[in-house]
């Protein structure tokens, strides 16, 4: 199984939401991206290195877990790195995708191991659903992956977090089963889930203030992703008759005014998140810059890409115009 390194991800934050059973292991592109042009080169290198480092840590837990790698998880890894102040140094490592060239990785064991465990938990929850709902090849795939997730969870268990995650997910599915027309209800559940994941502190090293800030950032990012995803899936969900709060709300989703409103509403989530980030003392300037870029520029860019269906080029052109 050869895998292109950057875009392929069987799971990310998102697959979790789609537990309606129609879709199996599907390729979802991550919603969490940086705006590359606004990062310094060294910051971008660090960002890539954290991604590769995460890949290696996932491999340590279970080889199969590696295929669930996504950039979404890098946000979590970075923010944990930033607040714990763990030393992060570069290392050159080889992997099946870069067997000759090798790649720069960041080796910061605590934060990255935590992130890898979280991705195992999330993957496990998603696959458990798939196995019960799917048939045929997809079910087989899910079974194969689930064994990996299982192994990873035994390897580095965080039982408390696993319990919280499954509680929040069951809340989310109740809200979906009730057919709630309010997109903010599901968004709050998903936000709470990410919030818990962001602020989990097993070793009691984080102060309450920091934990509250982490929760807030996770909550905002979760809401952002949930709402954006509901919008991105509107057409397909309508066709297949799946649950989608935005479709149920009865608004004209293609209307230009609605699109503007949605973009501003999503931006406001990120205004809050980046304000919280500014209040959080991230000592490492580089990590702060990357996180700031993600929240303030990267995610809003992605929302524009999806909602206005703009190509990356057009966005770049607009940014360029603003600069002039």
């Amino acid at each position: 199984m050869t895998v292109p390194h950057t875009t392929f991800s069987i799971t990310n934050f998102l697959c979790l939401v789609k537990n309606s059973g129609e879709n199996g292991v599907k390729i979802v592109f991550g919603y969490v991206k940086v705006r590359r042009g606004d990062l310094r080169v060294k910051e971008y290198e660090f960002y890539r290195a954290v991604y590769c480092g995460l890949c290696h840590h996932q491999k340590k837990l279970s080889r199969r877990l590696r295929y669930s790698l996504s950039y979404d998880m890098v946000l979590l890894a970075l923010i944990r790195l930033g607040v714990t102040g763990e030393r992060a140094c570069f290392q050159k490592k080889r992997c099946p995708i870069h067997p000759l060239k090798g790649c720069l990785t960041v080796d910061a064991s605590e934060s990255l191991r935590y992130t890898a465990s979280v991705s195992a938990i999330l993957l496990y929850e998603k696959l458990r659903d798939d196995i019960s709902d799917e048939r045929g090849i997809r079910r087989l795939c899910a079974r194969l992956m689930a064994r990996g997730a299982d192994k990873a969870m035994k390897h580095a268990p965080i039982p408390a977090l696993a319990k919280t995650v499954s509680e929040k997910l069951s809340q989310l599915s109740t809200c979906e089963a009730n057919g709630s027309q309010d997109v903010y209800e599901g968004a709050a559940c998903f936000g709470a889930l990410l919030g818990e994941v962001f602020c989990y502190d097993g070793g009691h090293i984080l102060s309450d203030e920091v934990k509250a800030a982490l929760y807030e950032i996770g909550y905002r990012v979760g809401r952002f992703i949930y709402i954006l995803d509901a919008y991105a899936d509107r057409v397909e969900d309508r066709k297949k008759g799946r649950y989608n709060p935005l479709v149920l709300s009865g608004e004209d989703l293609e209307d230009e005014a609605f699109c503007h409103r949605l973009v501003t509403a999503l931006d406001l989530e990120m205004v809050e998140a980046s304000r919280t980030l500014d209040g959080l003392s991230v000592k490492d300037r580089g990590i702060y810059e990357i996180l700031d870029n993600l929240l303030r520029l990267g995610l809003p860019d992605v929302s524009r890409e999806i909602i206005y269906q703009k190509k990356r080029v057009e966005l770049l052109r607009e940014n360029r115009k603003e600069d002039l």
Binding site: I227, T264, D267, L268
Partner: protein
């Protein structure tokens, strides 16, 4: 009528508790009969002091009662409900304000209702609904500056967020001027040492 106690204190109905307390203390200091220099004015001062005290007590009572206070005044003036809602919003009493707004019958809901509901949604973090309400408020009453400014401030917040990170964080660097003066300095130094960097000067 409803605004009278606020007028006496010289504050707006949506002032915070702290502002009202400060206004009251200032007035009380100014009009206290003991501070009166002119003997003939002493009675007038005492009268004024009584009025101020009464106004302050009334405002305090209204604010403590909140919801109940509004239902009392509701019949004589529809605007007073909105004033109470504004007060509650200032005090961050979201659910009470929401209950009050929902209590207004559909046919009486105007631009101000939409605006206040929008602000309420904003506080609850329901930005999508907040935008919708504020936009309809602006449509309903296009000339109202308050409504337009509220909507504009939301858009500005997002525009500021997305402004270029270089201008926000990295304002260091050097301008054209810095380069020129740097060169001239370097030239002077060179000339001191007997060399020359810029021939013409």
């Amino acid at each position: 009528m409803t605004y009278q106690p606020y007028d006496i204190l010289g504050v707006s109905p949506n002032a915070t508790d702290a502002e009202i307390r400060k206004a009251y203390h200032d007035l009380a200091r100014r009009y206290h009969p003991d501070n009166c220099q002119d003997e003939t004015m002493r009675d007038a001062y005492a009268e004024k002091m009584k009025e101020i005290n009464q106004a302050y007590e009334t405002v305090k009572r209204w604010r403590e009662e909140g919801y109940q206070g509004a239902s009392e005044t509701r019949d004589d003036n529809g605007d007073s409900i909105y004033a109470t809602v504004r007060v509650m919003l200032n005090q961050n009493r979201i659910s009470e304000a929401d209950r009050l707004l929902e209590g207004i019958p559909y046919n009486e809901r105007g631009a101000e209702w939409l605006f206040l509901k929008g602000v309420l949604f904003m506080r609850m973090g329901r930005y999508l609904d907040a935008m919708r309400m504020l936009e309809s408020a602006c449509r309903e009453d296009p000339n109202n500056r308050e409504y337009r400014e509220a909507l504009e401030s939301m858009r500005m917040a997002t525009a500021n967020m997305r402004s270029d990170s270089y201008s926000r964080h990295r304002s260091g660097g050097c301008s054209d001027c810095d380069i020129c003066s740097g060169l001239i300095c370097a030239d002077c130094c060179c000339e001191c040492m007997g060399g020359d960097l810029i021939r013409c000067c």
